[in-house]
Amino acid sequence: MSTAKIGLLLIHPAVTTTPELVQDIKEGSDARGIKFVDQYLVNKVNDSSIKLKQSNYDVIHYLTPEKADAILFPKKLIPVLQASMKADGILYGLSDVYKVDALINGFEVVSDSDDLYHWVNKATATKPVSKLVSLKSNTSSNSTNSLPSFKKNNGSGALPSFKKLPTFKKQNESPKVVKLADDNDELDDVLEEDEEEEAVFSDFSKTQFFEDMEDDDSIEEDNLISEKGQNNVITMITCGKTKTSRKKACKDCSCGIKEEEEQEIDNIRSQQEKVVQFTEDELTEIDFTIEGKKVGGCGSCSLGDAFRCSGCPYLGLPAFKPGEKINLTSISDDL
């Protein structure tokens, strides 16, 4: 072999728990004449956090622990993979579950050779219209096989004759209210017609299940939980914000958080005691512009809790107008 084929190893997230699988593939790659230059988690490609180069790979190998007939693969990725492959490039690891998508996207399915089951990229300059490209723009013969994320830029295919924005979008004077245009808004549907027809046909046969039937048995909900299996695959979030610090005492807290909370509440309430002891005269004399008066110099005490400083003696009391008596009569204090 003169030069190794450029390969991409695409990995299902569940495989990360069994690194030996990845190792096996890599070790076997020399014998297959493949050099895996890239290795990505499929979800990274799927959420577009990794973008694949166009026409880059000779081989893509998708590694998943799923059974061939139970593979769940994001359909929208299939044209993305196709676009990243050279002509006659080979895609391993998918199955006949996605045969239709393979064909739509210009792959040839090879299942009867000595090699592993695979797809061959036969799409070249005249790739069939991808399911994903908006079908309404019927001249999308863009040979670069646009990635979904590029579609916004793919304005060339868009209808040039836009009407002006509908008049209801005009911004009124405040308060601004716009009427929903739901009734006119339609989804620019991607279902192809025969597919839609098939759906309608199957809908018809399915309607019977909404009627009362003699065989009315239900499955056991508890059986829907399996200790192992597909249920374990979830999207992990690894880079959440950490600003949130919301420790909350449990109902029957015994670790001390509850006491801390109560202490904090008591502190605030004893602060309140001090400020609500003002006489009416005193309150009318409070001048928020003068420091050293019985309110802080921040000037925010009267504005309500959303604007008060932490530690403000007025915390927990309603907003009030300077000089106005805080009406506590409506605030009952008995537990």
């Binding site: 339609e186 999207t235 880079c239 109902k251 509440i265 959303a306």
Partner: protein, 631 residues
């Protein structure tokens, strides 16, 4: 009209998940995606055939179950089929949902063993068994913020939600980058944040021609509720405090009857009653005064521009329809506001005339409200509203720049929801008896916090009419009737157990009741009755008082008594196939009881290892012989 191809379906217990569903719906609205937003229970099952893009958000409740609004319709008769009951049919084909692309978001609490089970059940059924195509792997958020999707990052549930939202929007934007209006394709641009989206149906004056201001004000017309086929009316016959006056907790024995239909034998032991509360006239008036332009309208007859919104129908729609009545019977103005509330109202902070400090203060208020509406971190909102448990009414009193349009109040104000109580009376009783804890507590806010429902029930008097409903839980399977029963309940958990004890003919000749409270003379609720039953041989009573050394010298909690009588109780469970029912507050109690039972099985039940004992308990749970109702 053809059903929408996009649907957001949710199951929510406390309202958290509902709010996330509303936020998602709001974002889709802004991007001009026509869609349906519904609870799983209220969604018309057959419409699922028209759905192509399904977004499911669901919380988990009780013992890993789906919330009530997944398997019950909120205003139709309970016999009506729901989407979930259809999907659970054994005989539906494996490709039933093949036409659907779906993405899931679960909200759970990892301090419960069956963490996020509801969303997993939905996932297994919808994707694993009925052939829907999953758009991206499910997300699971954890209220404890320590496990699940956000494991170890310290990130809150909202960061998991917003990741979900981001993926959903990316998916839809990739699939439908353009929109079509009347056949014309155009760019899909989001509607500006500061524009309020008018709901499909909203309020307007009922009679526009009539100019005579006085004539159309409704006075003293009798109130009616329409549009809920299942709602029932009860008359209060007792509302009595049954804890000592100086005890911190006020527990009521609450009895009502139905004059129209006989309640007798309408429910089983372990069933639940829901009660629809309303606001006090004082709160309503206070609210109206913060929006003084509503005052002249408050008692005029109103109507909807289109249909009555479905969300309003649960519990019935008030008649006559006036602003005052709507605020009183439909709008939960004393609940803690959530993000979706601020999303819908911040742009109405426009009234500079009520700002002491003019434009600057107006800007300040507007910015703050907008921050509550849009900040994905939600910390500010949490500190301002959730932590002190601040009500919508108090927020609106703090933000006088808000000048809200009354026409849309049912869109931006959250709706009053019923509260659920276990029934304490026996099925053969012609009344319904509840045991209600009146919740009051203090936070940093000066005013004492109360919940709307307990506030409402706290003030009900004999003869008052309430709206209610009965919900069947099928707690006890027929096959266990007659077996010995071990009934365990600290505190108000006694409520459903009373119903079991009172059922005639007796459910079992051997009822062992383990009741726990703090003090014998303060919160020993129904103590006299229990002791009488014990004397009469109806039950064997094992009371325990956690803070009362005198009356409970060597045991504190129910699990201590279970352990003390370990050999006897274990024999009942293992040899006589007794039913074990545990009711009460959630938290550590049920966990400790469970651990105690496992230890008992090891010591006295012939199970050598932890695993074997735990496996037996699991088996009991599977057979519905170990029942736990905690809240």
């Amino acid at each position: 009209m053809a059903p929408n191809k996009i649907a957001i379906l949710y199951g929510s217990e406390t309202g958290n998940t509902e709010d996330f569903a509303k936020i998602l719906s709001y974002k889709l609205q802004r991007l001009h995606y026509p869609h349906t937003l519904s609870t799983i229970g209220d969604f018309n099952p057959q419409d699922i055939l028209g759905v192509r893009y399904l977004f499911v958000l669901c919380a988990t409740t009780g013992q890993g179950e789906l919330p009530r609004n997944c398997h019950e319709h909120s205003f139709l008769d309970k016999k009506n089929k729901t989407l979930w009951s259809v999907l659970k049919r054994k005989n539906i084909p494996e490709d039933f949902l093949k036409h659907i692309n779906v993405a899931f978001f679960g909200l759970g609490d990892s301090s419960y063993p069956k963490f996020n089970y509801a969303i997993r059940k939905l996932h297994t059924r919808i994707v694993g068994q009925l052939g829907a195509n999953e758009i991206f792997d499910r997300l699971e958020a954890d209220e404890q913020s320590m496990a699940g999707s956000n494991k170890g990052t310290g990130a809150g549930v909202e960061s998991v939600y917003f990741e979900y939202e981001k993926r959903v929007l990316e998916y839809l934007m990739t699939k439908f980058p353009k929109r079509k209006v009347n056949g014309q394709s155009m760019e899909r641009n989001a509607i500006d944040d500061s524009i309020y989206l008018q709901p499909k149906s909203y309020l307007c004056l009922a009679d526009k021609e009539d100019d005579s201001e006085e004539a159309d004000v409704i006075v003293n017309e009798p109130l009616k509720f329409s549009n809920d086929a299942a709602i029932k009316y009860g008359k209060v016959i007792k509302n009595l405090g049954i804890t000592a006056k100086d005890h911190f907790q006020d527990v009521r024995e609450f009895i009502f009857t139905n004059n129209d239909t006989n309640i007798k034998d309408q429910y089983e032991a372990g069933d639940t009653a829901s009660i629809f509360p309303c606001n006090s006239d004082t709160s309503v008036q206070q609210f109206l005064e913060t929006q003084d332009h509503w005052l002249p309208m408050a008692d005029k007859p109103l109507k909807f521009t289109n249909d009555v919104p479905n969300a309003l129908k649960s519990g019935g729609v008030i008649e006559p329809l006036t602003l005052r009545n709507i605020l009183k019977y439909h709008c939960d103005i004393t609940c803690i506001p959530r993000t979706s509330f601020f999303m819908k109202i911040w742009m109405f902070a426009t009234d500079v005339s009520r700002m002491e400090r003019g434009e600057g203060q107006l800007e300040q208020q507007r910015d703050k409200l907008k921050e509550f509406a849009t900040d994905q971190d939600m910390q500010e909102l949490y500190d301002y509203c959730n932590r002190p448990r601040r009500s919508i009414l108090e927020v609106i009193e703090d933000f006088l720049s808000l000048r809200l349009p009354w026409e849309y109040c049912l869109d931006y104000l959250p709706l009053i929801k019923p509260l659920y109580y276990s029934i304490s009376s026996g099925p053969n009783d012609s009344n319904v008896q509840l045991t209600v804890a009146i919740v009051k507590y203090k936070t940093m806010l000066r005013k004492i916090r109360t919940g709307i429902c307990t506030d409402y029930i706290g003030h009900l008097k004999e003869g008052d009419i309430i709206r209610y409903n009965i919900h069947n839980n099928h707690l006890i399977q027929d096959q266990y009737k007659g077996n010995p029963m071990v009934l365990v309940s600290p505190g108000v958990g006694i409520a459903p157990l009373l119903s079991i004890i009172k059922e005639e003919p007796q459910l079992s000749k051997n009822l062992q009741l383990f009741f726990g409270c703090r003090f014998k003379d303060k919160d020993y609720i129904y103590g006299e009755t229990l002791e009488r039953w014990d004397k009469e041989g109806r039950i064997t009573l094992h009371p325990v008082f956690s803070r009362d050394r005198e009356n409970s010298p060597d045991t504190k909690y129910v699990q201590d008594v279970l352990w003390k009588l370990g050999s006897f109780v274990t024999d009942l469970l293992v040899k006589e196939k007794a039913l074990f029912v545990l009711c009460g507050a959630s938290g550590k109690m049920p966990i400790q009881v469970r651990l105690t039972v496992i230890e008992m099985l090891k010591k006295w039940g012939g199970f050598e290892t932890d695993e074997a004992a735990a496996a037996y308990l699991k088996e009991m749970e599977k057979e519905d012989r170990y029942l736990q109702e905690t809240w």
